[in-house]
Symmetry: D3
């Protein structure tokens, strides 16, 4: 059901810096030239509302229909359009939030999420319900910072450390970074929380390698 | 919290052929020489009872205490001694069943398990409860074949195909191979079920690579 | 928070006959000229896929932004775009599926759903999860008939009676008609099942009258 | 299964002012002369204990057996005797608490309840379990005021506003007034909470109209 | 909070033979003269409907108010009036169904119930919800025999063995006898099912001895 | 399936004073010479870690295999090796924690646990999951005192009273003493909490008497 070959990682927002951050995270993960990261030129600057979230489904489906790949990763940590994209291809389609949550569940019984903006919580809870693990969410703490601040190597660190410590205090045993823009801050979050922290680009990368492994 | 370096994969049973099968599964997954697969010489031939399951905890802990590694994988699909081993090291410790179930949950909302023997079901349900996803188990079908038959390249194929088809009929959207001895039969199971099938050695390998990725 | 005035009922598909059926169902319910039923000209002929479901969100939001009303009803029994539309207005926004399920829960502890096509089940389960009552679903039986057959006064009756009897046999205590196109067949379903049957247009109408009642 | 005709609303307590408040709430809802509100002369002054709650079942059943109606509403927000009354008639029988909770679930994923006295909580939780939605209860705040204070147009307002604000702070998305005596204070509660507030007399009225609509 | 002394076991139905059977079951359990078994003269012949179930609350409360005891057992396997009776006394009050279910849960993860008549199921499910264990019920099989047949030493045996075997086939690990009238048939049920069977009179007796043990 | 005769109560730790405390608790319960309390000489001084918990399974199984009894009680409030021991004998095998939790559930809908050391919580939660009642745990408060302090008649009283009061404040309706070493402090805990307190030695004793009652 799967073949070797490229794994197409599609950032459904149009941000160039966010797309570069996703590519950097996958490179750090050491993924062997298998991944190709693209952005949805017609996407919104960030997926911050339900309208944004619905709006990217159709262009995601069209991109997948015209681009052959061994597997696809929807590179936004709210898994927009996942069921719709899956219906367009026989190849594996992975969502970054589901991948990161799954990875967290291999490390601890309960996990916390550092979110992008408060409005993202409802969409991530929707995905947790799809997986059946909403009650394993120990806490959800938004950063509420603009995307350009998030991807700065220093600016958001204080806020990230606070969020990580707040989640550690809830009894979470692992933390999920709830936005691709946070990939550069994994070590800061781990240091602050003293807990394993899951970076969703790498998590989805690992799942895509698994889903396309030769048999 | 993690470093590069070897990942020690410990088969808690003493079977040489089973250990070789685990190593072959990880090699097929293409894991870069990072994995070293060992067996527990004092373990039982297979983990087929609760006494077997409890008995390997102490030798697993001792092995981890004396062997440095970047991460450890407990290479039995009932995750024996997971909490005890975690208490002996600051490094990531991964269980194969939890890893495979997590991977299945990135592909579908409900999954089935092809089990080794009927008695394994209770231990795998225990792990599902630890993860909070017992109600996502669509079905659990045991093969009830001896370990030496399981690892034969042809002998168990008919039974595996039947089990895969039975699970597909439950509405499962993915299947977990519930025993390391089944690694060589992934393609047969996928063909029969028409569903993604998760091989636990590769799944735990992917999770261990993720847990030890450079930041 | 609410005022008297018209209640705008928006059929997100473009079918004229389906829209007429919704209006007829509300008229039968006796709703006093409060309801105005419109269709989304740019909508698909029916909402039969995830792409259809996502695609109507943006036009629904735009219509609600430009049309003042005391309350809005999204007149499709998969509640497309509900959260997004709610974010565009301070007025009550009701989904037909959530309204019908809520009404069923006042009549019985478990309920069944007669669905439009098999692919609708996943979307209705998503809504049940949002309400927290997925485990009260006793059964879900699709009709798998074209929309033009559904709205025929006679053609789908045999199939509807079969579905109603099948759901009664599951132990359901009430039945939800899972498509607006079924409004004309309520009596047939009640007769066959011997159970209360909830028609979603009328259910959402009742909820909208309640939400806009003078205080 | 249903016919047009009067809907008999039975207040199981003997309070005349409480009965008048129920009638006023239904009139405000604009229900067309369909509703006839009666009280149980042999009922307790209020349903404040488990003994009260059990004691009204038998007289409720007898009243329903001797009074023909198109539907019956048990007009107490703890739904006393609901199953017993249902067994005495083929007509729809609606409970005010279940009706109000159902209405709240069409407006939000979680809801709070403003209760009459602390002792009512256990009975309302029992009804929530019957519906399967106890975990959607965001908070339950009792007023602990005498019935004659509750029905005063001004006296309980401060306490009601405090309760409404406290529930809004729990993250509830809607509020249920947990006693028929509160019907006159809906606007005060909505203003204080900034959330939709469900009045149970009107909610049960809407459900009864739906259950008796011509087909 | 408890003292030594008599334990009053109150059969809320008026059946003399049923009361004698309860006393015999407690005697077999070997309970030391601590138990005194009485019947509610004003109770119905059996508790077969919701009206029966509600109707015994008031006389149960009055009996407990006038009779001092170290503990009280409500000797009907639907636990009628439990909360109301508890509010009348500071002494422990035990229900036979909750006691038997609790005992079953010490023996197995899932259990079945052999019920008196089909109508009892809803009341026993209500009690299971109060305990939070409805999903541990593997099956519920009614005998649907008159009380006088149940208490016959031979007549109901065939039907009881069938029910026990049917429950064993559901995967239940223990069986609860769901009526006091079945006390004489415990051995027959155990033989047929090959599982531990819990007799509710003895179970409540054990719980009452525990609740009144000297400290 | 059961016979009269001795009930073997096995303390899986090697502490002589702890064993004596278990015997004293059973004697207070008044259990008629049926109980024989032994300790596992090869056990750890207390079961304080997962390694301790796993390590006693094998010697428990061997002891049960060589000692005939009518029933067995595993006398540690984390139920070590329960499934393994059950597989070695056809006689009833009871765990003290499951017995105490079951007894608590006959007295209240939610309960708290006073634990031995913080590390015990995970093992007791595992048992609660096996029973399906983890969500009925209102609170878990560890004493974190050495075993020799626990069994002192006075030294731990202040800490026990604090824990009991803290649990009462959570809304728990009953309290479980989560360690056999606390048997002598039941009255102190009841006085402080004003709630029924379950002592696990006596609870398991009651369950064992029930499981071995003549039929």
């Amino acid at each position: 059901m799967s073949t070797s070959g490229r794994i197409l990682v599609i950032n459904p927002n149009s941000s160039v810096s966010c797309t570069a951050g996703i590519a950097a995270a996958l490179e750090r993960f050491g993924a062997l030239g298998r991944f190709e990261v693209v952005r949805l030129a017609e996407g919104p600057p960030a997926i911050a509302s339900w309208r944004d979230w619905h709006s990217v489904t159709e262009p995601l489906c069209r991109l997948v229909e015209r681009e052959e790949a061994a597997a696809y990763v929807i590179a936004c940590v709210s898994d927009p359009g996942l069921e719709a994209v899956r219906a367009t291809t026989r190849r594996p389609v992975l969502g970054m939030f589901r991948s990161a949550v799954a990875a967290a569940m291999t490390r601890a019984e309960r996990f916390g999420v550092i979110g992008f903006v408060a409005a993202s919580e409802a969409r991530q809870r929707l995905a947790l319900r799809g997986m059946g693990v909403e009650d394993r969410l120990a806490g959800w703490v938004p950063l509420d910072l603009p995307m350009e601040v998030l991807t700065d190597p220093e600016a958001p660190r204080t806020r990230i450390r606070e969020a990580a410590r707040a989640l550690a205090a809830t009894g979470a045993g692992a933390i999920v970074l709830g936005c691709t823009g946070l990939a550069g801050h994994l070590a800061a979050a781990e240091d602050a929380a003293g807990l394993p922290v899951i970076e969703p680009c790498a998590a989805a990368g690992a799942m895509a390698l698994l889903a396309t492994a030769p048999q």
